[in-house]
C-alpha cells in the first residue's frame, strides 16, 4: 500500500520534477537579465496585490461568517447561500465585467452623464488600478474564506464562548482572543487558496496593468521565447511558496485540534435592531458587489445578444466542460480519499510528508503546469505524440492543479475524527477495507461531497491549462469566454460566462446544504 501511495504521489508531481530537472543546465544570462531589470517590480507588485486581496477577502469572508454563525435573524439562510455564490464567477470575468461597468463608456458613467451630471467628474477616474483589482479579486475569492470560517465558527463549542464570557471577557475580546486563534487553521487554509488564485491569475492582471511574478514567467515564455527562463522563474516561485507553506505548517503543528463531537450546541443570539442592521449591511455588500452586480451585467449582455447566440455551440461547450470536470474531480477525490485513509492506518512519516507535498502542485500557475506537461511528454522517456493533445494530458493537468483543493476538506474531516476509531477497529479485527467501508466512508461522506463539489466548480472555471493543453476542436465554456473577452467582445462572452455561473450556482447550493448539515450534525 505504501508503494501504491508513492507511485501515485510520483505520478502527480512528476511534471514538476521534469520542470526542475530541466532548469539545471540552463544558461542563466536571461535570468540575470530579468533579475536586474524586472524581478523587483514583479515581486513588489505581486506582494502588494496579494496583500490587498487578502485584506479584503478576510473582511468580506470572516465578518459575515461570524455573524451568520452566531446570530438568528430573518434572511440569514438566504445570505448564507448567496455568500457562497461569487465563487461561481471566475476572477477574470469579474475583472473584465467591473472594468466595463466602471469605464468611461460603461453603464455607471453613462448613467451619471444622463442623470447626475454633477457626479461625472468625480466618477471619471482611471479605474484600472492595482487597488481596484485587489478589491475585485477579493470579491471573487472571499467565499474560500467564508466557507472555512463558517465551518470553523460553527464547530467551536459553545463551551469556549460561555467560559470566556463568564470570565468577564467582552464579546469583542472573545472574538479576537478565543475565536480567531481557534479558527486560525481554517482561516489560513482559506487564505492560502485565495493567495494561490491571485498568483495564478494572468488575464485580469495583464488587463489592469499589474505586473505580477506570473507575468514575468509569461514574458520570458511567450515574448522572449525563452522556455528555460520561464521554467526557472516558475521553479523559483514554486519554492518560495513551498517555503511559505512550510513555515506556516511549522507554526501550526504545535497546535492540536480536538473537536469533541458532543460539545454543547451553539446558542444563537437574537441581535438588537441596530445590530441587525449592521449585520445586514456587512452581509449584503459582498453579495451585492460579488454576485448580484456582475450577474445582472452578464444577464443584461445575454439579453442584448440573444438573437445572435449559437445555442448548439453553447450546449456543445457545456457538455465538454461538464465531462472533463467530472472525470477530473472524481479522480482527484479518489486519490485524496485514498491518501487520507492510508495516512490513518499506516502511521508512516513518509506518507505524512507526501500527503502535504501532493498539495503543492497548487502553487504552480496553471500555465506552468501546462508547460511542464508539454515538456514532459515531448522528452525522453515519456515522449508520446499520442498522449499530447489528448484528453488524458488535459485531465492529468487538472488533477495536478486541483489536488490541493480536493484534499483540503477531506484532510480536515479525516483529522477531526479521533484515532481511537481506528485502534478500536483494529482491535476488533476489522480489515482495512471493512474499516474504510463501514466507518471512514460514512463519517466522511459530507467531506467527500464537499471536496467533489468544490473541485468541480474550480475546474469548470479553469482557463490557462485548458487553453494550452486542450485537444483539437475542443473548447470549454471558460475558454470561449476568455477568447471573446480578450478580443474586447464582452457581450458575446456573456452567454458562456452565464452558463459557467449557473452551473457553479447549482453546485454551490448543493455544497451549502451539505456544509450546513455537517454543522448541524457536529453541533448536536
Amino acid at each position: 500500500m505504501v508503494f501504491s501511495t508513492v507511485l501515485l504521489f510520483l505520478i502527480v508531481i512528476l511534471p514538476i520534477i521534469t520542470l526542475i530537472v530541466g532548469t539545471v543546465n540552463i544558461d542563466t544570462s536571461n535570468f540575470r537579465y530579468l533579475w536586474n531589470n524586472l524581478l523587483l517590480d514583479y515581486s513588489l507588485d505581486t506582494m502588494y496585490l496579494v496583500l490587498i486581496t487578502s485584506f479584503f477577502s478576510l473582511l468580506f469572508g470572516v465578518l459575515p461568517a461570524w455573524y451568520i454563525s452566531t446570530n438568528n435573524f430573518t434572511g440569514k439562510n438566504i445570505y448564507d447561500i448567496l455568500l457562497y455564490l461569487p465563487l461561481a464567477i471566475p476572477a477574470y470575468i469579474m475583472a473584465f465585467t467591473y472594468s466595463d461597468i466602471l469605464s468611461y463608456t460603461g453603464p455607471l458613467q453613462s448613467f451619471a452623464r444622463n442623470y447626475f451630471p454633477d457626479l461625472v467628474s468625480f466618477l471619471n477616474q482611471d479605474y484600472l488600478q492595482i487597488e481596484v483589482l485587489g478589491v475585485i479579486m477579493a470579491l471573487a475569492l472571499y467565499p474560500y474564506i467564508y466557507t472555512a470560517c463558517r465551518l470553523s465558527f460553527s464547530l467551536i463549542g459553545a463551551n469556549y464562548i460561555d467560559l470566556s464570557r463568564s470570565l468577564g471577557m467582552s464579546r469583542t475580546k472573545t472574538f479576537y482572543k478565543i475565536i480567531i486563534p481557534l479558527s486560525r487553521v481554517s482561516i489560513f487554509s482559506g487564505l492560502f487558496l485565495v493567495i494561490m488564485e491571485v498568483l495564478n491569475e494572468y488575464g485580469a492582471v495583464k488587463y489592469f496593468g499589474v505586473n505580477t511574478f506570473t507575468s514575468g514567467i509569461f514574458r520570458s515564455w511567450y515574448s522572449m521565447q525563452d522556455v528555460e527562463t520561464a521554467s526557472l522563474l516558475a521553479v523559483f516561485l514554486f519554492f518560495v511558496i513551498v517555503l511559505f507553506f512550510s513555515v506556516e505548517r511549522f507554526f501550526n503543528s504545535r497546535y492540536n485540534f480536538n473537536y469533541k463531537p458532543n460539545t454543547k450546541k451553539f446558542r444563537h443570539e437574537n441581535p438588537s435592531t441596530s445590530k441587525k442592521i449592521f449585520i445586514h449591511i456587512i452581509s449584503f455588500i459582498p453579495v451585492f458587489l460579488g454576485f448580484i452586480v456582475p450577474l445582472l451585467f452578464i444577464i443584461g449582455n445575454v439579453i442584448y445578444e440573444f438573437e445572435r447566440i449559437d445555442f448548439y455551440k453553447v450546449f456543445n461547450l457545456t457538455s465538454n466542460t461538464f465531462i472533463v470536470s467530472l472525470i477530473a474531480s472524481i479522480i482527484i477525490v479518489l486519490i485524496a480519499v485514498y491518501f487520507q485513509f492510508l495516512k490513518r492506518i499506516i502511521k508512516n512519516k513518509i506518507l505524512t510528508v507526501f500527503n502535504e507535498a501532493i498539495s503543492l502542485t497548487y502553487a504552480l500557475p496553471g500555465a506552468v503546469i501546462g508547460l511542464s506537461l508539454i515538456i514532459m511528454f515531448t522528452s525522453f522517456p515519456f515522449k508520446s505524440e499520442v498522449l499530447l493533445g489528448s484528453f488524458i494530458v488535459l485531465i492529468y493537468a487538472y488533477v495536478m492543479r486541483y489536488m490541493a483543493v480536493g484534499i483540503s476538506p477531506l484532510k480536515s474531516s479525516f483529522e477531526k475524527h479521533p484515532s481511537s476509531y481506528d485502534d478500536t477497529a483494529v482491535n476488533l479485527g476489522m480489515s482495512p477495507i471493512k474499516l474504510f467501508k463501514s466507518i471512514h466512508l460514512p463519517i466522511n461522506k459530507s467531506a467527500i461531497a464537499i471536496a467533489f463539489l468544490i473541485t468541480f466548480v474550480d475546474i469548470i472555471k479553469e482557463l490557462p491549462i485548458t487553453l494550452i493543453l486542450r485537444p483539437f476542436n475542443f473548447d470549454t465554456l471558460a475558454v470561449q469566454t476568455y477568447e471573446y473577452a480578450i478580443e474586447e467582445m464582452i457581450p458575446k462572452s456573456s452567454i458562456y460566462s452565464l452558463t459557467i455561473v449557473m452551473m457553479g450556482v447549482i453546485l454551490l447550493i448543493f455544497l451549502k446544504k451539505i456544509v450546513n448539515k455537517e454543522i448541524d450534525v457536529s453541533g448536536s
Binding site: Y33, N37, L38, D41, S99, S103, Y104, T105, G106, S110, N124, D126, L128, K206, Y207, F208, G209, N211, S215, F218, R219, W221, Y222, S223, M224, Q225, V227, I374, F377, T378, E385, L388, G389, L467, I468, R470, F472, N473, E483, E487, E488
Partner: protein, 341 residues
C-alpha cells in the same frame, strides 16, 4: 501463415493512415477569431465542402505546441495577426514554402515574404489618434516626434507585452537602430499620461474621458468603435481623429503589420490547405475582410470600408516585414530597459 500475417499488417497499416487522412478537412491553428473569420470559413465550406477545424489560442502557445508536436502535428495552417510570429515560425522550421504566382499576382508585392514561408491576408496600421478638442492636427508629424516634451502627460498607449507595440518598436529598431530607439522609448515613457494598461480601445476611451490627448492604436479599432452598437462607444470613436505618421516628403511611411497564413511543414491535408489560402486571398474573401474588420486588403484593387476610406490614403513603411520578427527580442529588451511596462 505468412500470407495471413501480411494481410493483417496491411489492414493495420491501412487503417492507420486513414486516421491521418481525414478525407475532407483542414486543421488550422489560429490566433485570429473575429466573427469575420468564422464567416470566411463557413463560406469556404459551402463552396468546397471541406470542413474547417480551428484551434484558437495565443500565437506563442500555438507555436510552442507545433514545435512540440513535431512531425505528427495535425495542423495544416497557422494564422496570426502579427507577422513577427510568422517570421518566428519560419525560423523554427515549422512551415513549408508556398510559391504560387497566381496567388501572388493579387497581392501588393511590398507585403509578400521574400522567403515564401507565409502569405499575407490583411494589413493594418498602428496610427496616432488625437483628441478633436484638444489637439491640432498640425502638432503631429512622426512617431519620432512622440518623444518630444510637448506631449508630456498626454500620451496613452497599452502595455509593451502586447505584440502590436512590440512590432512597432521592432520597426523602429530596423529603421533607426537600437540606440536611437532606446532614447526614443525613454522619452516616450516620460510622456505617458498613465502607466500602460487596458487595450487599444481603452486608450481611445481615455482620450474621450480627458485622461490624455493622443494615443497609439491599431487603425481598425477606430472603425470598430464607430460601428459599435453602443452609443457611448460611437461617441468615444467620434471624439478622436486618425493620423498616419511619417507621411511627409522623404519620410518612410506609417508602420503596418500583417495578418497572415502559413502552410505547416507536415501539413496532412496540404491540397485542401492550399485551396483555403487561395480562397482567403481571392477578391470575394478580401472584400469580406475589409467590410467586417476594418482592415486593409492585401489586394491593391480591393477598396477598404467607407469609414476607413474616410481617413485617406497613406504611405506604408516598406521595411522588410520579417524584421518585425527579427528585432522582436531586442525590442522587448528596450521596453524593459526603458521602463515601458
Amino acid at each position: 501463415m505468412n500470407k495471413y500475417f501480411y494481410a493483417l499488417l496491411l489492414l493495420f497499416l491501412g487503417s492507420c493512415s486513414s486516421n491521418n487522412k481525414n478525407s475532407n478537412v483542414i486543421n488550422i491553428y489560429s490566433q485570429r477569431h473575429y466573427n469575420v473569420d468564422e464567416l470566411q470559413y463557413k463560406n469556404f465550406e459551402k463552396l468546397t465542402g471541406i470542413k474547417v477545424n480551428v484551434t484558437k489560442a495565443n500565437a506563442d502557445e500555438l507555436i510552442q505546441r507545433m514545435k512540440n508536436e513535431g512531425n505528427s502535428s495535425p495542423a495544416d495552417l497557422f494564422i496570426t495577426v502579427d507577422v513577427g510570429k510568422l517570421w518566428q515560425g519560419g525560423e523554427m522550421g515549422l512551415f513549408q514554402e508556398f510559391n504560387d504566382q497566381s496567388v501572388f499576382n493579387n497581392i501588393d508585392p511590398e507585403l509578400l515574404d521574400p522567403n515564401n514561408l507565409w502569405v499575407p491576408l490583411t494589413y493594418r496600421s498602428r496610427v496616432i489618434v488625437y483628441s478633436n478638442e484638444r489637439v491640432n492636427k498640425d502638432e503631429l508629424s512622426t512617431y519620432e516626434d512622440l518623444s518630444d516634451e510637448k506631449w508630456k502627460g498626454k500620451l496613452l498607449v497599452r502595455s509593451s507585452s502586447n505584440a502590436y507595440n512590440q512590432a512597432l518598436l521592432s520597426s523602429l529598431v530596423e529603421n533607426l537602430g537600437s540606440e536611437k530607439t532606446t532614447k526614443w522609448s525613454e522619452a516616450v515613457v516620460a510622456n505617458f499620461a498613465r502607466s500602460p494598461k487596458g487595450n487599444d480601445r481603452d486608450q481611445v476611451k481615455a482620450i474621450a474621458a480627458g485622461q490624455g490627448d493622443i494615443a497609439i492604436v491599431n487603425s481598425y479599432y477606430i472603425g470598430l468603435l464607430l460601428s459599435s452598437e453602443k452609443e457611448e462607444e460611437i461617441n468615444a470613436g467620434k471624439a478622436v481623429s486618425v493620423f498616419f505618421p511619417n507621411q511627409g516628403d522623404g519620410e518612410r511611411g506609417a508602420h503596418i503589420n500583417v495578418s497572415g497564413i502559413a502552410l505547416t511543414k507536415n501539413s496532412p491535408n496540404k491540397e485542401n490547405a492550399i485551396k483555403l489560402i487561395k480562397y482567403l486571398t481571392s477578391g470575394e474573401a478580401q472584400k469580406t475582410y475589409v467590410t467586417n474588420s476594418y482592415e486593409y486588403s492585401v489586394n491593391p484593387t480591393v477598396q477598404p470600408d467607407e469609414i476607413v476610406q474616410g481617413w485617406g490614403e497613406f504611405k506604408k513603411d516598406p521595411v522588410d516585414l520579417n524584421s518585425l520578427g527579427k528585432n522582436r527580442s531586442e525590442a522587448i529588451r528596450i521596453f524593459d530597459k526603458t521602463g515601458w511596462k
